[in-house]
Subunit: 381 residues, 2 copies
């Protein structure tokens, strides 16, 4: 194999593919990156067996030449040093050559690296995903959906299924739900007409996979194809394959957790609430639960406070836009509230409480249909 390739283009692909390569892998060949050149393109592959990423560099695209010379072939190169080597090369093109003895030569300007390669025939085959369960959405939208839900997955392996985000497609509507059993984030979106006939219900994607996918995808109006099979999901753009395993047990029924009525409702500026809670929680960070109290007051005001016996207390009065229903004293994890407000990203939110010991929900005031954040309070009174 021999390729003469634009350095910046190669660098970007390497950085994407590196996200799937784990230095801690127990399968030696997976510590490497596969480089495969055909007549028309170069494909880089990395995998940690949970996630596999392929990045494709076409020889030419939109009149721009990325690859100046290709002699087809393939090789597996140690991934550990590759990004640093390519990044620091002196010239704007790089020559990569491998011989029958798995020797790799990387050359750019006067710099020459000779690396020991591994046998590409030993690299695991990407599973072919046989499925008709495919649909499309804009990359931007997928990134938003991930951002609005993925933070709420569980980081504990006690219930492994909760470390994933539940994808449900039904009646042309896609719903994502994540919960760590203390809070829940859900987002729904209506899909294009052509997915009405598609349906999948128990698709749970590891939160870690979605984080990596979100990092790789640039904000873009372009479309991404999503294909779901029994135990895998494939995200596919023009130059990227991102394949993740799915979690394989049943996701709990979450809809019954969401209260359908409320006793106290607060309308408040989201940014002001976020900043007030952020301040009040400063002294609470030493506590394990990072707890702040919210108490409704006269004249549409709430008092937000926290208390850390050894250090002191913080309190602040916050003017809301409206408070209706019963008086309320409630305590909750400040971080959960800040995460939820950040995910909602609306100017005004509506918080619906059903008493001090029941979960409460936060939604944008002007759209209560599509995004919902739920937080379970903490008993302190």
């Amino acid at each position: 194999m021999k390729i003469v390739i634009n350095r910046d283009q190669l660098m970007k692909s390497i950085q994407d593919v590196m996200k799937a390569i784990s230095p801690k892998t127990t399968i030696p060949i997976l510590s490497g990156m596969k480089i495969e050149a055909t007549e028309d393109e170069v494909t880089l592959t990395g995998s940690d067996s949970d996630v596999t990423i392929e990045s494709i560099i076409p020889k030419e695209e939109d009149g721009i030449i990325h690859i100046h010379d290709i002699n087809p072939g393939k090789i597996v190169v140690q991934a550990k040093f590759l990004p640093d080597i390519i990044k620091k090369l002196p010239d704007e093109t790089v020559e990569i050559e491998s011989d029958g003895d798995l020797n790799i030569l990387i050359r750019s300007g006067q710099a020459e690296f000779k690396l020991n390669g591994q046998d590409p025939e030993e690299y695991p085959q990407l599973p072919m995903l046989e499925t008709e369960n495919s649909f499309h959405m804009p990359i931007d939208l997928l990134k938003t959906l991930i951002r609005q839900t993925n933070f709420a997955v569980s980081t504990s392996e006690t219930r492994p299924i909760l470390t994933g985000v539940h994808f449900k497609l039904e009646n042309g509507e896609l719903e994502l739900v994540a919960t760590d059993s203390h809070r829940l984030a859900s987002r729904r979106v209506s899909m294009e007409e052509d997915v009405i006939q598609l349906e999948f219900k128990n698709t749970v994607i590891p939160g870690k996979s979605l984080s990596e996918l979100n990092k790789i995808l640039d904000e873009s109006q372009e479309s991404i194809q999503i294909s779901v099979a029994d135990n895998q999901i494939l995200f596919r753009t023009k130059h990227l394959f991102f394949l993740s395993r799915l979690l394989d047990s049943n996701y709990p029924e979450t809809s019954r957790l969401i209260p359908d009525q409320s006793k106290t409702e607060v309308h408040v500026n989201a940014k002001e609430l976020m900043q007030t809670i952020d301040r009040a929680s400063l002294l609470a960070k030493d506590n394990r639960n990072n707890i702040v109290k919210l108490v409704t007051q006269e004249q549409n005001t709430v008092e937000i406070s926290s208390n850390s016996p050894e250090i002191g207390t913080a309190e602040e009065m916050l003017k809301t836009n409206d408070i209706s229903g019963e008086e309320l004293k409630i305590s909750f994890n400040a971080k959960y509230m800040i995460d939820a407000l950040r995910a909602i990203d609306a100017e005004e939110v509506k918080i619906s409480f059903t008493g001090a010991m029941r979960p409460f929900i936060i939604q944008p005031t002007d759209d209560s249909e599509h995004i919902l954040q739920l937080i379970t309070p903490v008993r302190t009174y």
Copy 2:
């Protein structure tokens, strides 16, 4: 005590003073920051007993009012949460008030923090530095001197004296030397006329103190006063006191380590050499010593290479401006060379070798008097 003070101004002083406060202190009162208000100014003090920093905020300066109200007094406040609290306050002024029971109230806009204070009478007194050994230099110059030498101090406590930088003032010339016994950095500078009568020879400042001082001082043409006493040194600007203990044993005689003749001399572009060594050393980073080889070649060229048996080899030919003297093969720690070239910060350097096993020196070609970096090679041939 009560002060109403500009938040940004207070924040900057807190950040400076925090650099002396260690969360790991075994003296409880030193986990706090002392705030002392007089009629004209507010002084913040932090100390870890090795370094003490005082930052002074005048009531008014250049027509700008920093403090809107002062009621003199003093208090010690827990330092841990203070920067976060002040940074996140909603208003541009902050009110800080303490009562006779050591309660502290911090108020800004609607936000109110009540903190438990500590007794300022228990805070250790700053030692009065009685000395006539004082001189001045521009802050810029002091920062440069620190940058050019301090990186070479030892990080090991095997010989504690080598963890400091040796300051020597004699015949109106100030010399700084640092060495970890594998490499040495030295910088000399002629002082103003009025320090001819001053002399100090065994002043060794902890490298850690100089790092912190360098972080606090902004680039500026303004003057800094340096006062040396038996076991302490004080750096003083208009609004800052920075007091550090000195290391208390004899600094080794280093001048005899520096070879006074050379067998091979290489003149080379510093940036090109740095980049070439940086690349060649990429594969050497797995080795404990990060070793690269330099071999002189025909036509004013040197070959820079490294070799890591399991990974591969890197090599690069670098055109120099001139090579004179004997042929040479030498190996050295790449990081030491990169640190030295970065400290010298000249377009062209002269490297003077005295054989493969003797220390070599690096100096700017156009000024070999004032800055010198020495590196001990590694035996590989």
